[in-house]
Symmetry: C2
Subunit: 209 residues, 2 copies
Amino acid sequence: MPADQAEQLHTDAATKRPGGRTARTAKAVLDATIAELGDVGYAALRIESVAERAGVNRATIYRRWGDKPSLVAAAFTARQVETSPPTDTGDLLEDLLSFLREVRRGFDSPWIAALIRETGPGTADNAGLREALDKIWPARFRLSREIFVRAVERGDLPAHADPDELVEAAAGPLYFRRLMLGRPLTDDFLRRTAALVIAGARHAGDERS
Amino acid sequence: MPADQAEQLHTDAATKRPGGRTARTAKAVLDATIAELGDVGYAALRIESVAERAGVNRATIYRRWGDKPSLVAAAFTARQVETSPPTDTGDLLEDLLSFLREVRRGFDSPWIAALIRETGPGTADNAGLREALDKIWPARFRLSREIFVRAVERGDLPAHADPDELVEAAAGPLYFRRLMLGRPLTDDFLRRTAALVIAGARHAGDERS
């Protein structure tokens, strides 16, 4: 974007701000990016609209984030950092239910909705975004696997239980029901899913197959 | 679309065909619809392009299917009908593995890829398509639930096992891993998923919770 880089030289003076404001500007831009993603999706997202929404100069965005994939990746990553580790109640079922309720809440949060919308077959042709998403999903679920790691340590699950697969086994049905079937995620469904995964983790392997 | 309805009066003579050709024309149009969906997605799909691809007059499409949501719903429904019932080997694990392998194959077939692409948050604003998809997904999985119905009848699963939930528990992790994590679906992963779901279905409920 040489045109924008040229423009940026003219606007540097106007956008320079003292320390605290830089962080606030960054937050405003990343929040606006998530909001725009939710409204129009990645393909239609324009840096111009993000700039307007955040109340900053377009050149400020280009200077700091470079291009659209990098800006979107930065916005997702910033939200990622805000994700809290899973609850540790000492009880596997309660911990897992707490995780599944957080997954359920995620479907109603703009940034997760935007993330889901841009993940999958639709973005396969966008290498930059693809690469960013490839880092974000695993990071998001690395935190959650601790639920199962702790359960194995307590002797609550057999040692051969695979924490990553159990995260997928527990979260997968929620994504499937919500996104593919368009059905609501009731608390009863969450409980039954958690109970099935825990029973499966305890007994898979000790079965006639 | 009154303009098209007017046009259609002029082209009726040109598009009228004997019996067998009508079915072939319908197939050509529905195949072209799936192909276009795969190439450009629902939002950008144009009846004009479908008509060109199928080698038929645009008016033929409007006359028979009415509008874009109806055409797309018809295309999906036609493929739906072609879906075969699940294998009946008499063995739950083998039946379930066979189903999961079909799910895996689906990700590589254009019509399922198109269906997935149009399902989810992106199409929430398109009531006509939404309604069609709401019928197609449940129909697709109604066939698969028979695997678990038969297992309950054979006494291979407890009577309280819920066939619909077990379909979601088994298929969900595949969708999650493939679409959200972008990871490959190995045969080993399918086996472990099937074993976990079967063990869970046998033991959920007879557990300390």
